[in-house]
Amino acid sequence: MEPQLKQNNLAIPLAIVIAGALIAAAVYFGNAGAGGASALQPQGAEQFTGDLEQMQPITAGDHIRGNPDAPVKIVEYSDTECPFCKAFHATLQEASEEYRDDVAWVYRHFPLDQLHTKARKEAVALECAAELGGNDAFWKYADRWFELTPSNDQTNIETVLPQIAKEIGLDESKFATCLDSKKFDAHIEDNVQNATATGGNGTPWSIVIAPSGKKYPLSGAQPYESVKQLIDLALKDK
């Protein structure tokens, strides 16, 4: 009987180790992106490759903080209700101040509607700020938003969105009209699709681009020291 008992003792852990290997493989391929699409993804996502090269090129239409011709560019896909985006906004502000002309910070929208129902409307508000007050107004609005609000859909956007617009000197009436329009819906959705196409599966999702064009993916609100090391690494890659 003893050999059979030993066999049973081994069978369960072995089965779990195999299950773990399968999970690890799924995680790996999910992260690597190739073939990472699942039946639960929306139509149109079949071509999801998680390929950083699918990142839409940076254009004058982007919201850029710092020198647009900086050798290193950080493209951030962010959600205004994500607490980690709030923390990471401060991290990138610090990086912008320290590296000045060496780093350009590009902000793109990645509202996670399933978790944060207000985030998409707030993305529209940011676009309205840019339309009414230019690039400076966009960044003033974004800085004030992340400074003022607690994240996780806890903000009364009916009052806070116009309040920030007023604070930074935007025309309140035009801002309200813009906010009610749907003119930026396609642009925001385009950003979301591009975030997932490049492999983003949560926020903040960032891509650091070296002068050589090499792209480094950075997921989550990583500490300033890590961001700094990645920027320094990218600056060496000419």
Partner: protein
């Protein structure tokens, strides 16, 4: 508790516990950025110093990229996984078997792993497993946004630790495999 302390007093078991705990912790913290780390480690133009410095600095993301809840269960899973591994090694040394506690422990680690990541922002391992949109939709339905998996993992590892410790402290007696009354 006595079984756990006795086992950890053994140098080999203590080394196993520390190694496994450190490894599980590092993997948990690096998981969102394995792609970045792989790119840097395989890039011949990156110096050895940079190859080491980035992963080390990413370890402190436990403070910036985790909620208090997810950081707590991530650390608990790492510590319990280390203790479990040490107990399994001890059990094999003493009795030459894994024991059923090992299976519970392994399932605890894998269940906990599903809950690792940034729950508030949808970047859990769960979303990698079943696709971004599907994963986030499931997270939205859960009160703790996926933290449930981490808590379940801690519970399973706790049960496993108990079962393994019990097996270690069990006296050596002859037990017939099948007694028909």
């Amino acid at each position: 508790m006595r079984g756990v302390l006795t086992s950890l007093a053994n140098t080999r078991s203590a080394v196993v516990a520390l190694t496994v705990a450190a490894t599980v912790f590092a993997i948990a913290v690096w998981l969102p950025n394995l792609r970045l780390l792989f790119a840097i480690w395989t890039d011949a133009s990156v110096s050895l110093g940079d190859k080491l410095a980035l992963p080390i600095s990413l370890l402190s993301s436990i403070a910036t990229n985790f909620t208090l809840l997810s950081a707590s269960y991530t650390i608990a899973i790492a510590v319990l996984a280390g203790v479990n591994a040490a107990l399994i090694v001890r059990l094999i040394q003493m009795r030459g078997v894994f024991g059923s506690g090992a299976a519970v422990g392994a399932s605890g680690i894998f269940t906990g792993a599903i809950g690792l990541g940034c729950a508030a922002c949808g970047s859990l391992i769960l979303t990698s497993l079943i696709g971004t949109v599907g994963g986030i939709s499931i997270l939205a339905l859960l009160p703790l946004r996926g933290g449930e998996f981490g808590i379940l993992g801690v519970v399973l590892l706790g049960v496993s630790t108990y079962l393994l410790a019990k097996q270690i402290t069990k006296p050596f007696v002859c037990e017939p495999a099948n007694i028909k009354v």
